[in-house]
């Protein structure tokens, strides 16, 4: 009786999960095997959408994977440094640092991208400030509308997502463990590499996955600060708007997700290898 009611409590949540997540995703997979011809949907199963993705859009997919991997690696590294700082170096300031990360976590997705656009333009905040200060005489033109601008913006809004899981796993490391290693004569880098990283494996992998998926599926950032940069999201979004080719958009999304799973798996292997050495 007690036990059964326990499961009933989870039922509403599970119902939402099944009806609004499992069912739509299952339909989405089915959809990717349909086809649109002259604006009419045909439910005859075909793999032509997938063939299309690999034949015509593999370079956009590849570019997206490269950008997402680079951003995820950089952000995870920064997140690790930040978490390390908060856990082992900041003392009573740790609460302040975490507070800042938490408040930037839950707000301002679109506003952060927009802010970077106003910061990086030819007559943007950064250039106008540098010129007013007399540091430069003509604006640096390569700031906005470049791959660097995209990576910078993506790093900015995904950093909190990287810090938190790593910090959570660092909390499991007792100060005494680090001290014990130091007493045994280990220097700073080996402690980091052989004590801290192995203990944070799950946090690091979670951080990387979060950031990779967020970047891999983003289309607003390239649109606003990337200039003419195209990532796979910029091709997926119009399939559900202007192009009206939902099946192709579904196939693109699924290929992107599979690529993400593969990269995340490889990253996990890499971290596991590092930890075993």
């Amino acid at each position: 009786m007690e036990n059964r009611s326990t499961y009933w409590l989870v039922a509403p949540s599970a119902l939402i999960f099944c009806v609004l997540f499992i069912a739509p995703m299952a339909f989405f997979v089915v959809l990717s095997f349909w086809q649109v011809e002259y604006f009419e949907l045909s439910t005859e199963p075909t793999i032509s959408n997938y063939r299309d993705v690999f034949a015509n859009y593999w370079h956009v997919m590849g570019f997206t994977v490269v950008v997402a991997t680079a951003t995820a690696l950089l952000t995870t590294a920064l997140g690790f440094i930040f978490a390390f700082l908060a856990r082992f170096r900041a003392g009573k300031w740790a609460q302040v640092l975490l507070f800042i990360v938490l408040i930037t976590l839950f707000g301002g997705y679109l506003m952060k991208i927009y802010a970077w656009k106003t910061i990086l333009g030819n007559e943007g905040v950064l250039n106008s400030a540098l010129m007013a200060a007399g540091i430069i005489s003509s604006p640096i033109t390569s700031l906005l509308y470049s791959p660097q601008a995209v990576v910078l913006t993506l790093m900015h809004f995904s950093l909190p997502f990287a810090v938190l899981p790593i910090y959570a796993s660092m909390r499991g490391i007792a100060d005494s463990e680090v001290e014990a290693a130091r007493d045994l004569g280990a220097r700073r880098w080996p402690i980091l590499s052989t004590v801290i990283v192995p203990r944070c494996q799950s946090g690091i992998v979670a951080a990387f996955s979060f950031v990779f998926l967020m970047v891999g599926g983003d289309y607003v950032t390239p649109l606003l600060v990337g200039g003419k940069l195209t990532m796979i999201g910029n091709l997926i979004a119009p399939q559900f708007g202007a192009q009206f080719n939902w099946p192709l958009g579904a196939a693109m999304s699924i290929v992107m997700l599979i690529a993400a799973v593969v990269i995340i798996y490889l990253f996990r292997l890499l971290i596991a290898l590092w930890s075993r050495q």
Binding site: E2, S5, T6, Y7, W8, L9, V10, P12, S13, A14, I16, F17, L20, F21, P24, F27, F28, L31, L78, I81, R89, A90, W93, I100, L102, I103, T104, L105, F106, G107, G108, Y109, L110, M111, Y114, A115, T118, I119, E123, G124, V125, S128, A132, H156, L159, P160, S209, F210, G216, G217, V220, G233, I236, A237, Q239, F240, W246, A250, S253, L257
Partner: protein
């Protein structure tokens, strides 16, 4: 040596804080500029763009839509998520963590994929797009946060308190209302506020599932299309005020008693 290391980490900390906060602060500052372009120099501080914002035709309906959606999402997620967290807390640990990982899956998915998958699903089952479909979609990604936050509190909860209430003759519902709820209430409210912040902030999923009409973020998106005036900054500041404000309150509520 130690002092030098402290200075080094101090500089690193400052750099991080500047990187995280300066875009947000600049956004706020430029909502008070008197000029049309958002750059330096700021000649004079003014409320001009805030006045522009409140007379923008679409502003009030968008604000109303954002708030209606956020309140509904907060209430539904809080109820559903709290129930689930209680159920999970009473389950064997391993099973609970598997169920929790499953429930969290929608959060891991890129919002674009979730948005277009929900759009095609709603259309295929002939559900009319509008505020209700946005609310459903937001509950999907907001409820896992409620489950996680409340569950973290529930596992520290001493079940003997409830048992003794039951021994005194209270029904499960009475025991919940008189014993459990008062203890976890701050955390539930905190979690509901986080759900609200997530809902107000969401752009991508709203964009694909709203059909017609606007929320604050989709209004900003529309305004970016005709050019970037500082009244976008004013609306942005308002969004940040709502999301960061509710997050700060939520952190207070969940931390002090958690």
């Amino acid at each position: 040596m130690n002092a030098r290391s402290n200075i080094f980490w101090g500089i690193v900390a400052v750099l991080f804080i500047v990187f995280l906060l300066s875009p947000i602060l600049l956004l706020v500052v430029f909502s008070f500029t008197s000029r049309t372009l958002t750059n330096f120099p700021i000649e004079a501080l003014s409320f001009h763009w805030w006045q522009e914002m409140v007379v923008t035709r679409q502003f009030w309906p968008s604000l109303a839509n954002s708030l209606i959606i956020a309140v509904c999402v907060a209430i539904v997620s809080a109820i559903v998520g709290t129930l689930a967290a209680m159920g999970l807390a009473a389950m064997p640990k391993r099973r609970a963590s598997i169920i929790m990982a499953l429930l969290t899956l929608p959060v891991m998915l890129p919002p674009l994929v979730l948005g277009v998958a929900l759009l095609s699903f709603y259309v295929s089952i002939d559900l009319k797009l509008g505020l209700p479909t946005v609310i459903l979609s937001h509950v999907l990604f907001a409820q896992p946060f409620v489950v996680l936050i409340v569950h973290a509190r529930m596992v520290n909860f001493d079940p003997r308190v409830v048992e003794s209430a039951r021994d005194l003759g209270a029904s499960p519902l009475q025991a919940f209302l008189t014993v459990t709820l008062p203890i976890i209430r701050p955390v539930v409210i905190g979690a509901a506020l986080i759900a609200m912040a997530l809902s107000i902030d969401d752009f991508i999923i709203t964009f694909f599932t709203i059909g017609t009409g606007n929320t604050l973020p989709t209004l900003v998106w529309g305004m970016i299309r005709t050019g970037l005036t500082p009244s976008v900054n004013a609306i942005g500041t308002l969004i940040l005020l709502l999301t960061i404000g509710s997050t700060v309150i939520a952190l207070q509520l969940t931390r002090y008693r958690g």
